[in-house]
């Protein structure tokens, strides 16, 4: 299922980690994720509307106060470089259906390079203590360390 990333650090950089943010709602939070992906050079501007489109078709809320906004299959053409960004919203963002997101992991992917980090994310979220540590991370280094801490075996 896809090749392993040779330089996983390149997928998630300190520049892509933004802590202590506030958002007026889900659309604003998705815009901020899109802007972060733009800033790190992951996507072109056309990717942003696709992130909203994807969210409207099926929510990207995955549990434990975390959402993973990303584009549609068709919007892959606007991805310049597979990347992830992490935005923290300590006050929470209403994500619909009674869900509140305190952390967003924005994804732009060509292929399967993001598998390692998403696998780590899933492992972290299944451990409530670790999930809280990630949601409340005090600095970018902690976020990156947590998401890269678990070895990918696929």
């Amino acid at each position: 299922m896809g090749r392993l990333p040779t330089e996983r650090t390149a997928l998630l950089t300190p520049e892509g980690v933004r802590l202590g943010r506030t958002a007026s709602g889900r659309a604003d939070a998705i815009d901020q994720c899109g802007q972060a992906l733009l800033d790190v050079g992951a996507v072109s501007a056309e990717y942003l509307p696709a992130m909203h489109e994807r969210e409207e078709s099926v929510s990207t809320f995955i549990g434990e106060g975390v959402a993973i906004p990303h584009g549609t299959d068709a919007s892959r053409q606007y991805v310049k470089q597979t990347s992830l960004v992490v935005l923290q919203f300590p006050d929470g963002v209403d994500w619909g259906s009674g869900n509140v997101a305190k952390l967003c992991v924005g994804i732009a992917a060509h292929g399967s390079e993001q598998v390692g980090i998403l696998s780590s994310l899933a492992m972290i979220l299944m451990d409530p203590a670790k999930a809280a540590e990630l949601r409340e991370a005090p600095d970018a280094e902690t976020v990156i360390r947590l998401l890269q801490s678990i070895d990918e075996e696929n």
Partner: protein
């Protein structure tokens, strides 16, 4: 309704809308669980389900779209990305034998 014997399952596919986020997370978790049984797990966009998949798992809201493009395969929906009971059901069928039906 389709049925497959646990022993016949060699390839499980996780489908989501873009094949970029949620299906990747689920596939990575399930791949670890099914590795001992030599069952492969991959992720794909829901409109692009491979013909050789034995079992397809997708978010419940995508079931209709998944069924459209996958003939008579066993297709099961899940609600939770993190530890949905359907993942246990698939693992049990593969591990203990028995049939899996949608």
């Amino acid at each position: 309704m389709s049925t497959i014997e646990g022993s016949a399952i060699k390839k499980v596919v996780i489908a989501c809308d873009a094949g970029m986020g949620s299906s990747v997370m689920v596939a990575s978790q399930l791949a670890k669980r099914l590795k001992p049984y030599k069952v492969s797990v991959s992720h794909t966009p829901v409109n692009d389900i491979p013909a050789d998949a034995d079992v397809v798992l997708c978010q419940s809201t995508l079931l209709a779209r998944a069924k459209k493009g996958s003939g008579d395969k066993v297709i099961l929906g899940f609600q939770s990305f993190l530890g949905d009971p359907v993942f246990d059901k698939v693992e049990a069928a593969i591990r203990d034998g028995g049939s899996l039906a949608d």
